[in-house]
């Protein structure tokens, strides 16, 4: 059976060159970067080279890069680190309704510690309005955290505009850029961010490694102790092979970004067009300001998990924002924040394209999906014609 992986927003297949770069650091150059001998020095050089690669990709300085276990840790470090370091200046944080839970739950945890959090709403496309962020600012505000691009619907936020507002009000600005790296240009100065989170496995690198960009002069409180690594912000022996992989992956992902993004956009638009040709479907997310690989549609009258199971039986790997797949009793908070009704949110289908996908993959999905939709709709009590008929 044909296998089609269309869940690249969840994770990606590692680039062969990334694996090749990592391999020697798993088997041969196994020294601890903190050691003084040749083994250690070789590992230290690898870590610092990777730091330069990450910095170069973001338009940052190497010393502004802190390696973490991934974006979840980077988001925690950024938000908790700033909140606690700035608590004498104020206790108010601003974020958006469509953030990843790594941001939302961190803010919720801080709310329990006495911080107040304003969660700004989004429009029907899942986009944050810079004016709404500005309106939420009080004399107690210390940090604004707004994601660059949304993981579910692919909508790209006006981060540079929000960054400008934060600078005007002298606020620290963090952005979760996990979905953006390798898909759209990410430059910390252009975006006017003070902190930015990223994760290697979203751009063909290894899992378990990410980074936080911390603008020079930005003070973070620390909550992990035990070593001097990563300027004490993230103590513990560095994951050298993963760091090497992150460096290589970000270099590759940003070097041919335009060509790859253009290729993905063509596939994305063909897929969207084909899906919207199915009766009673709608596109979720912004029609233009969206990630090049993101497709998110709602298919009315059917539920997302049964759609995913059916696609999986045909070899297609996808994702959904239905309650059954969100791990809770409610459908995706992103789709609900965009104002979708429950049925539309339960029937959402996310297909995220990556470097390995071809036009044949898109054609295959468009070939198998209509049959699946027809089968599930025939079973659905809410589909037109299936209403209760009483004699």
């Amino acid at each position: 059976m044909r296998k089609v992986y269309l869940d690249n927003a969840a994770t990606t297949r590692m680039h062969e060159e990334v694996f090749a770069a990592m391999k020697p650091y798993l088997l041969e150059h196994y020294g601890n970067p903190s050691s003084i001998h040749s083994f250690g020095r070789q590992a230290r050089k690898a870590v610092e080279d990777a730091r330069e690669q990450v910095a170069a990709a973001l338009g940052a300085e190497p010393r502004e890069i802190v390696f973490t276990s991934g974006a979840t840790e980077a988001n925690n470090l950024a938000i908790r680190g700033i909140a606690r370091a700035q608590k004498n200046k104020g206790n108010h944080l601003i974020t958006s309704a469509v953030e990843h839970h790594a941001v939302l739950d961190t803010c919720k945890a801080l709310a329990k510690e006495g911080f107040t959090v304003t969660v700004v709403p989004v429009d029907e496309y899942g986009m944050v309005d810079p004016a709404a962020v500005e309106a939420a600012i009080t004399d107690q505000t210390i940090l604004v955290s707004i994601m660059l691009a949304n993981n579910e619907v692919g909508t790209i936020n006006p981060i540079a505009e929000i960054g400008e507002i934060c600078r005007k009000h002298n606020l620290i600005f963090h952005s979760d850029a996990v979905q953006a790296i390798g898909n759209i240009p990410v430059n910390v100065d252009n975006l006017k961010v003070d902190l930015l989170s990223l994760s290697a496995h979203k751009f063909y690198g290894p899992k378990g490694i990410g980074a936080l960009y911390v603008r020079k002069g930005t003070k973070l409180d620390v909550f992990n102790f035990g070593g001097v690594q990563e300027r004490k912000l993230r103590p513990g022996t560095e994951n050298v092979p993963a760091i090497v992989g992150l460096g290589k992956a970000i270099e590759l992902a940003t070097s041919d970004l335009e060509a790859e993004a253009a290729k993905l956009r063509v596939l994305r638009d063909k897929l969207i067009k084909g899906l919207l040709a199915i009766e009673a479907t709608k596109l979720n997310g912004h029609p233009e300001k969206r990630l090049p690989g993101n497709v998110n549609v709602s298919i009315q009258y059917i539920e997302g998990e049964s759609l995913l199971l059916s696609l999986d039986l045909k070899g297609v790997a996808a994702s959904s924002g239905s309650a059954c797949t969100s791990g809770s009793l409610d459908p995706s908070h992103v789709l609900m924040a965009m104002g979708l009704d429950h049925q539309t949110a339960h029937g959402s289908l996310r297909l995220t394209l990556g470097r390995d996908n071809t036009e044949e993959d898109v054609d295959y999905v468009l070939e198998v999906l209509p049959e699946i939709v027809e089968r599930l709709r025939a079973m659905s009590p809410i589909y037109t014609g299936n209403e209760i008929k009483r004699s």
Partner: protein, 128 residues
């Protein structure tokens, strides 16, 4: 995550559809949680369930439990059908993931609603 039996019922659901002039129709669930099940019953003079059909909007577990209960009930008496519980349906399928036990394991409730509808219709006929 799902057992083979669940996947079998999901892939080849038994008794999908509706019964014209059904003796009892029962529905359960709501759009908020994302599961809606409807069951149609046809019962003969000896109180035996001759035919049963379902339509379900929901996840794999919701569809599989709906399908499974139709097989469990067909040929049983009304009294026997009243005894079937959601837990028995899940057991019939070799178990369900824990997260699905409460939200999507509602087929017995839909059946009970259909049996209630049947009894109400019969009571109404008697008073006519």
């Amino acid at each position: 995550m799902y057992t083979e039996k669940v996947m079998d019922h999901f892939t080849n659901p038994r008794n999908v559809g509706e019964i014209e002039n059904a003796d009892g129709i029962g529905e359960v669930g709501n759009m908020k949680c994302g599961d809606i099940m409807r069951i149609y019953l046809k019962v003969n003079e000896d109180d035996i369930i001759e035919d049963i059909k379902f339509r379900t909007f929901g996840c794999g577990a919701a569809i599989a439990t709906s399908s499974a209960i139709t097989e469990m009930v067909k040929g049983k008496t009304i009294a026997e059908a009243w005894e079937i519980s959601n837990i028995q349906v899940a057991e019939e399928l070799g178990g369900l993931p824990p997260s699905k036990m409460h939200c999507s394991n509602l087929a017995a409730d839909a059946l009970k609603n259909a049996l209630r509808d049947l009894e109400e219709k019969r009571a109404a006929q008697k008073t006519e």
